[in-house]
């Protein structure tokens, strides 16, 4: 029951908070935060009870829902699901604290965040397409309103673009799954994977199979995003209020990567192999171009948004590189396992680091009176040493400094990719360099140099802000030094994925 509980705690709390009277704003906010802590406790309990030694799904619950269509209520988690659930449960309270003082009907804001959280949990635990899709869409609506109602000056078009892009992807995916259903009579991920394993889902209809594959791919590629389907992202992340941007990048972007591993990899192995080359090229583009674009930005939030695309590009590089058929002479299993383990680490760690970065940029914006240009500041280290130190840690984690959490994931991805797809991996390396340069530029322009007179009174982090950042900063160190905490969970799931391929 624990997974059902996990999914419905935020949903129920969200409804309750929304139903409170308009004069109970504070109560609503506190209630929402308590619910997110309860969800976090449940997720941690899940992690503690999870049996690392066992591959496959655990905590399974299933019940018929619409039997005539093969739709079930079917939840369960493996290592992949557990990591993403844990990540979401961590990010939501963090993001709530970042929005603690949000104005204009905070009760509604916090109840929407809870709906979004429920959507995330549902997506990461559902094992039947329709069930999964319910929650995939459920997360979209609150995200839309969070941007639309609490966003920056261009929130209107940003939210609209975000919604329409994602919805178009969703419809393509739904159509593809209808075709799958028509061919196999199943919506169940595992059943579909088995059918694919037994030799083709469409019995010789190559073009249809490809079209269906591309439909699903489109839905996921928009969500991650994969260049060239990323154009909604910079606007949405930049216009979103800080807390929402943290949710979008920390947790929602992982829905797409999760889909690649849960759906595309097991159900379409043949097509993944056939389309590997163009997909690798796009993954390299997703790494290099957004890094270059971030380099050219003058707005801190936009820079962080582009760097987010770049970091998810590594995940996609790892996945596509690993989608290589074992040829007779060399067994690639070790490299494939390295790359996929790297992807899972990267998902988790990017979630933490990127949301921390958005948090700090949000603090700069709040203190700077809505200014957040790269050149608006300087020398802040003198006025706010703790601020500088903590944001510096997040920046270094983001550029992949060994010893911090960003490193193991990117290392494993490149370790695998350099052998599985040498050329693409080599071409992606400039992306790493550019990332390093622009992240260091931020550090330099904002925190070093002479302190302008108007910022001389720049306040350092308050105790509340330090405590908010503390858990994430701690995790950045812990997971950098002990990546086995994550790989222990991830590795059995990776082995399972490789068996299915």
């Amino acid at each position: 029951m624990i997974l059902t509980f996990l999914t419905f705690v935020p949903l129920t709390a969200g409804v309750l908070v929304a139903l409170l009277g308009p004069d109970r704003q504070k109560l609503g906010r506190n209630l929402a935060f308590a619910a997110s802590l309860l969800a976090l406790a449940l997720a941690v309990a899940l992690w503690a009870l999870f049996d690392n030694a066992r591959g496959g799904l655990q905590f399974v619950e299933r019940a018929p829902w619409v039997p005539s269509l093969g739709i079930e209520y079917y939840v369960g988690v493996d290592g992949l699901g557990l990591l993403t659930v844990l990540l979401s449960a961590l990010i939501v309270p963090f993001a709530m604290l970042a929005s603690w003082k949000i104005g204009n009907n905070p009760k509604l804001y916090f109840s929407l965040v809870l709906f979004l959280e429920s959507g995330l949990f549902g997506t990461f635990t559902a094992q039947n397409f329709i069930h999964w899709f319910v929650f995939w869409e459920l997360s979209l609506i609150p995200a839309f309103f969070l941007i639309r109602m609490w966003g920056g000056p261009n929130r209107s078009s940003a939210a609209f673009q975000f919604f329409v892009y994602t919805m178009a992807g969703s419809v393509a995916m739904l159509a593809a799954f209808l075709a799958l259903y028509a061919a196999t009579g199943a919506f169940d991920f595992a059943q579909l994977a088995q059918a694919a394993h037994r030799g083709g889902l469409f019995a010789g209809h190559k073009t249809l199979a490809t079209a269906v594959f591309l439909g699903v791919l489109l839905g996921l590629a928009v969500k991650v995003p994969l260049v060239p389907f990323h154009t909604w992202l910079p606007a949405a992340y930049t216009e979103a209020p800080t807390g929402t941007a943290m949710l979008l990048t920390g947790a929602m972007s992982k829905m797409g990567v999760y889909g690649f591993l849960r759906i595309l990899w097991p159900i379409f192995p043949e097509q993944m192999r056939a389309w590997r080359l163009p997909l690798l090229v796009l993954a390299a583009a997703t790494i290099v171009f957004p890094a270059a674009a971030a380099f050219a930005q003058k707005d801190l939030k936009r820079m962080v948004a582009y760097s987010s695309i770049n970091h998810l590009g590594y995940c996609l590089l790892g996945i596509f590189a690993a989608a290589r058929l074992t040829d007779g002479t060399v067994a690639w299993t070790d490299e494939q396992a390295a790359a996929l383990n790297g992807v899972m680490l990267q998902m988790f760690n990017h979630g933490l680091t990127a949301s921390a970065l958005f948090y700090f940029v949000g603090l700069i914006e709040q203190r700077g009176g809505a200014l957040r240009g790269l050149n608006d500041f300087g020398g802040l280290r003198q006025a706010a040493p703790v601020f500088c130190g903590l944001m510096g840690i997040a920046l270094f984690a983001s550029l992949g400094l060994p010893g911090l959490n960003g490193f193991p994931g990117e290392f494993l991805i490149f370790k695998g990719a350099l052998q599985l797809a040498s050329l693409t991996a080599l071409c992606s390396i400039p992306g790493l360099l550019l990332t390093a340069i622009f992240l260091l530029t931020i550090l330099q322009r904002v925190f070093s140099g002479p302190l302008p007179a108007k910022w001389s009174g720049w306040p350092d982090l308050t105790m509340g802000e330090r405590l908010t950042a503390l858990p994430v900063i701690t995790l950045i160190f812990v997971l950098g030094l002990f990546p086995q905490l994550l790989t222990g969970v991830a590795n059995p799931a990776v082995m399972q994925l490789l068996k299915l391929f």
Binding site: W65, V66, S68, L69, I130, V134, S156, V164, V171, A182
Partner: protein, 498 residues
């Protein structure tokens, strides 16, 4: 029990007609009690007949001779399909009264006509005798005309007349076909079950013309493109409760008749015309959505969206697969609820307060601040209308698409594109009407009374219906799916299906 849905409605209508005085309060209360009693009867009927319906058996309610010379009987019976639609009528009737709580002019007559309409609708869904069905069908048309012509708004005489003319042309076509079937069968009966037994012995040439005449006659009322033009103008002209009923149940009368009468009586004709009608349905889906996308009048958007959503019903019927048909019936229910909800927001919550439906005028009012409850209701209604999972429309349109994919894959793809256009127009109208922040003008913000209790109750009733069915579609599917094999539906499957 089920028969009482009809009697209560007509008795209450008659009572209202003879109620002395012009005080609106007793009229409203009487109407609400009658609608609630109807809903209660419908619910009890569903519970009573559930097992029969689940086994695909027709439950006789009343079966008595009426005009013996012609073999006409007063025969009411229900299978799962009727039950679902009777339930829809009950819910829509209650919601309609709640959203008409502010009708002050000639309210006695308003509610009398309203209940007469409801009674007729219940009658159609329960009749097994074709003649009886036709009588109820006509009974339902006449009050509609008066409701629009007397209590309507924009171009009400035009809208009412157009709707009445379309309806009467449709009925005339239906009548011709029915009499022809009666004569050709030569069995001296109007009973659908009896006639259905003959349906495969009707000559093919006869079926080919009779089918299209009867089908189109009914489908006019279901908004079949290109005979849909009465729907947007009629919806816009009608008072709120009448638009709710028009979209909620009256359009379902057409789809129900098309399924129950045209398709089962003339299965060979059905196969001849199957592709043509499916093509028209798809045109309706896409065309309705695209036209809705460019409307400036709030209510026209919803009016055209009804044409688009009813296209899914007709497409589902034409798939001739179990899954497509059960999707079509579920979509009838789902659209009835959702369209009712959207019309209630537009007509009652917004128009009655702001006195405009022009999106350009609504934009600067920033209604999400002025009417938060209406905004929240409309957001959820829009999500349901878009067919987002978790709401009734999702499972319904999904089933239609799965069925269409099996029969005509190309149409399935086009219909899916129609869903996308649906997302676009729904989002557009939602943003323009409630969330247009860029052009907010504090002076334009109207002073509005708060959303009243009856409105809240009505909105919650409809929201609960679409959510419950969306989350637990088996409640209705367990009634619908077996009924596709009930004696009334048998001819559909005997026609040598692929």
């Amino acid at each position: 029990m089920l028969a009482w849905t009809i009697y209560i409605s007509f008795l209450a209508a008659a009572f209202l007609m003879f109620l002395p005085g012009d005080n609106p309060r007793p009229a409203k209360v009487t109407a609400l009690l009658a609608a609630l009693a109807g809903l209660a009867c419908a619910l009890m009927g569903v519970i009573q007949c559930r097992e029969h319906a689940g086994a695909g058996v027709l439950t006789d309610v009343v079966n008595a001779p009426w005009i013996a010379e012609l073999g006409i009987r007063y025969h009411l019976a229900a299978d799962g399909i009727s039950l679902v639609l009777v339930l829809l009528t009950g819910i829509a009737a209650v919601a309609g009264v709640l959203f008409s709580w502010n009708v002050e002019t000639r309210s006695r007559e308003f509610f009398a006509l309203y209940l007469a309409l409801i009674g007729g609708v219940y009658g159609v869904f329960l009749s097994v005798d074709l003649f009886l069905l036709f009588v109820f069908y006509e009974v339902a048309i006449i009050p509609k005309y008066f409701l629009i012509a007397i209590w309507g708004s924009t171009r009400r005489e035009y809208g009412a007349m157009k709707l009445a003319l379309y309806s009467f042309v449709g009925s005339a076509m239906v009548l011709v076909g029915l009499i022809a079937a009666y004569v050709v069968a030569g069995a001296k009966t109007f009973d659908l079950v009896e006639l259905a037994k003959h349906s495969h012995s009707f000559p093919a040439a006869f079926q080919n013309w009779a089918f299209i005449v009867v089908f189109v006659g009914f489908a006019i009322l279901a908004g079949l493109w290109p005979f849909h033009t009465w729907a947007p103008t009629g919806h816009v002209a009608a008072p709120t409760a009448a638009s709710m009923l028009l979209a909620g149940v009256v359009m379902k009368l057409g789809a129900y008749g098309a399924l129950r009468v045209a398709m089962t009586l003339f299965p060979i004709g059905l196969h001849t015309w199957q592709n043509t009608i499916a093509a028209l349905a798809v045109v309706g889906i896409v065309y309705g959505a695209l036209v809705a996308l460019v409307q400036q009048d709030f209510k026209f958007v919803i009016g055209y969206s009804s044409v688009s959503h009813m296209g899914f019903v007709l497409l589902g019927l034409m798939t001739l697969t179990q899954i497509g048909l059960s999707g079509a019936v579920l979509q009838m229910f789902s659209h009835g609820i959702i369209a009712g909800l959207l019309f209630a927001v537009v007509g009652r919550m917004v128009y009655d307060r702001t006195h405009t439906r022009d999106l350009a005028e609504l934009q600067p009012m920033n209604l999400n601040q002025v009417l938060p409850f209406a905004a929240a209701t409309f957001v959820v209604g829009c999500a349901a209308s878009m067919g987002l999972p978790g709401f009734s429309g999702f499972i319904a349109e999904l089933q239609v698409l799965v069925g269409a994919w099996q029969t005509f894959p190309v149409f399935a793809v086009l219909a899916a594109a129609g869903i996308l256009a649906g997302v676009a127009y729904t989002l557009r109208v939602l943003l323009k009407a409630f969330f247009a922040e860029g052009v907010v003008d504090a002076r334009a913000r109207p002073r509005c009374e708060r959303i009243s209790l009856p409105e809240r109750a009505g909105a919650l009733l409809l929201l609960a219906a679409t959510l419950i069915v969306g989350l637990c579609p088996r409640l209705l599917l367990d009634l619908i799916t077996p009924s596709l094999n009930s004696p009334l539906m048998k001819p559909l499957w005997k026609a040598g299906l692929p």
